[in-house]
Point group: C2
Chain length 462, copies 2
């Protein structure tokens, strides 16, 4: 009997979280006799934590190797034919094959697939302005970017850093540079930092950043990078002003890397990400899956598609894809939009909809804000936190929560993340049986205090 | 028109969390013209945090006043006729009145009520053994108890303490005494400390306590308190051994204080607590409510009644009772059994059912245990935590979670508490959108890692 006839080939494009999680999970379920797995990665690294780069730059993590969950050798030891520094340049959907190019030699060849996983990730948004490519201007998307930034910092005697953007990457890089002893200016297009929060909550982040010595410039856009005689960055210019800079970090977000998918005619959504079904199959394509930063995900609260580049989703997508390819069954039902971050000791968290998201989705709502403490007020190191909560009018359904505070604030958002997933009302939330003891919470957890206030607001305006 | 005819009188028995929350909330909704409120408290304090006593004894909280949320004067300023040091000695249900005795003068009088709230709390279980009342043997139920213990510690030169019991109070008091520089021995009837956990998880607490220098003696029972010539405790004796003690703290739990209710013929459950409906009305009694440590609550996971003495429940009960008495509508649907505690830097949390609870409820289940870290493994101060998860066979419904670890372990149980309330399956939990960033969580939160393992276990044995 010829077993090789039954052997299928899985091709994976992209060797980071989504791609290699899918490959690993498929391998767990199907041995090499049943499934051949070929994975292409154009860079030097596999399965690394891009989210960890700010902490490496800031000195909390000592070496890039610590950010690597699994090396190419470890993947190969599990019978995954991993081809590093090999970039896929075309997907031939009709022919069921991909063309790949060896980055170093330039040699190209075709590889056929029975099943394909697209995990091409995201690419940083680079501002289209003069000087954006000057030495001393850095993105922080890949480990190579992180190393280049660290080398640049080592070469520069000046201590002035400008961070462009004040979202997650921006505030984390501001922290990293503060930790390295830099004078940091953050230049931000929005009215407040952390545009993933409502501006009233972003204001708290703004104040805390200034308290940390970070100069926060809002409502402005960098128009130009100015360079010195050596060609290296010396300042950034906005419409109104110039900010001297020995180093510039770009943290203005990412967009799905879907060049290959577009060329192959695969379906994209409004945010330029691939569209999949709940099993993470590319819509309309029985044998192509996609996951990670290159796809759009369903927002379970608004019912609309979103693009969220986040390692935890990429890992879950990979797990779901690998299970399905391995002959099991799994789905990724969607997200509620949870994110947590910190800048020094300030913790910032959000889940669900902001006011503008709720309005855009056509929802009417009440928004309330409360202040409470992380522990019983009398317990040492109880710190203030602010919780904002949105609830739908009439139904009272929880729509979103934002939290800004110190230790113990950030992960409290998980309570709301689960409640959103379960479509709970704020009234139901008021009696949630949350962990209470003086070192952990006031007798009414801050999330419960917010739920009580939101519940009253909904009742008062039925 | 005679308005006074319409004025009702609410009588509250017990001036701590449940009683005074009920009184305050009723007052918020109904002014003194509509509702007269009389509250009786036999002790010296109102609205205080008994849960905070170990931290006061341990020195984390400097004065008992810090544990008082609201003083008698503050309650009176809100038109609550609060009668301190006045003990209710009888409830005359048929006559709609209570008899109260001034503790100091012994004078007794009857007060009629239109509505009654019973919030008599719990009383500590005192072991029935010789010497249990000797000087140097202390409970820690009330602020007076805490002061007596502190006075006793100040009087004693010896540094050997024995804690009887190793549940929440026991481990918290062990921590308090370690913090005060005592040599602590904990004597425990069960096979491991923290019998609210399964023994395999209690074992982790045991090891950590020993690591802190606490001598842990399990599977044994104190039979006698031995006293010296001065009449003061000098040791405790078990069946097998004697443990020298300059001070003994009893932390062997509490039971509902329902003496009055029993005498009045009100309905009690199997755990000797009052039985109420979901609006916290005593069953069969339209105008009597009860809440806090003297009632039984519905366990939403097992469908059975339980007795849980916990300030957070008492506050919620009071809120519900006060809302209903004030003319609003609120219910307390029940608990899932969440509790969190710590001993020094070890955090201990549980929610839902233990293995023996699940068996007792007639449920078949899978139990899994995983180890993970509080933060991304590469992030500074990532610490190990152990998560045990129980899921029902066939349905995959989450039944319970236990967590033992360091910083960041305890409040993670809230994720499971909300999931239990929402009757989620462990499979559903595997895709929960929990907050992820390296300082807060690994890319798979420990609770998700446990959910994945539990989900596989359920699938493998359908």
């Amino acid at each position: 009997m010829d077993m090789s006839a039954a052997r299928e080939r899985l091709v994976v494009i992209g060797g980071d979280a989504a791609g290699m999680s899918a490959a690993s999970q498929a391998r767990r379920l199907k041995g090499p006799d049943e499934l051949e797995i070929v994975a292409f990665e154009r860079g030097h690294f596999t399965s690394y934590s891009a989210c960890g780069i700010p902490y490496w730059v800031g000195g909390d993590v000592s070496a890039p190797e610590e950010l690597i969950a699994r090396t190419p050798e470890e993947h190969r030891a599990r019978d995954i034919d991993l081809r590093m520094r090999t970039e896929v340049t075309e997907i031939d959907v009709a022919g069921g094959r991909v063309r790949a190019r060896d980055v170093d030699s330039g040699a190209e060849s075709w590889t056929s697939y029975d099943k394909l996983v697209i995990a091409t990730g995201a690419r940083p948004i680079r501002p289209d302005m003069p000087g954006a490519d000057a030495p001393g201007v850095h993105g922080v998307q890949t480990l190579d970017d992180g190393q280049a930034l660290l080398d640049s910092l080592a070469r520069t005697r000046g201590r002035r850093a400008v961070v462009v953007g004040a979202g997650y990457i921006g505030v984390e890089m501001a922290e990293a540079l503060i930790n390295r002893g830099y004078e940091v200016t953050a230049v931000n297009r929005g009215s407040e930092p952390m545009s993933t929060l409502d501006p009233d909550m972003g204001r708290l982040v703004h104040e805390a950043m200034e308290g940390l010595g970070i100069t926060m410039v809002n409502n402005t856009q960098v128009t130009k990078v100015l360079t010195g005689e050596d060609g290296r960055v010396r300042a950034v210019a906005t419409q109104d002003a110039e900010y001297p800079a020995d180093v510039v970090v770009l943290g203005i977000g990412v967009r799905p890397e879907t060049t290959l998918a577009v060329a192959a005619g695969l379906p994209l959504g409004a945010h330029h990400g691939l569209l999949t079904d709940l099993a993470m199959r590319v819509r309309g394509h029985e044998n192509i899956w996609a996951g990670g930063d290159c796809v759009e995900v369903l927002d379970l609260v608004s019912g609309q598609e979103r693009h969220i580049a986040l390692g935890t989703h990429a890992n879950k997508h990979g797990q779901v894809i690998g299970t399905n390819i391995g002959g099991g069954y799994a789905t990724f039902p969607g997200v509620v939009g949870t994110a947590v971050s910190k800048v020094c000791d300030l913790e910032i968290a959000r889940t669900g909809l902001r006011e503008k998201d709720a309005r855009r989705a056509g929802l009417q709502f009440e928004a309330v804000t409360i202040e409470s403490t992380s522990r019983a007020g009398y317990y040492p190191n109880a710190s203030l936190m602010t919780v904002k909560m949105l609830a739908e009018r009439r139904t009272g359904r929880l729509l979103g929560v934002q939290i800004v505070g110190r230790e113990g604030a950030g992960k409290r958002v998980d309570i709301a993340a689960v409640a959103l997933t379960a479509c709970m009302t704020v009234e139901q939330m008021t009696t949630l049986d949350l962990g209470y003891a003086p070192p952990f919470s006031p007798v009414w957890d801050p999330v419960l205090v917010a739920a009580r206030k939101a519940s009253r607001a909904v009742q008062q305006r039925p």
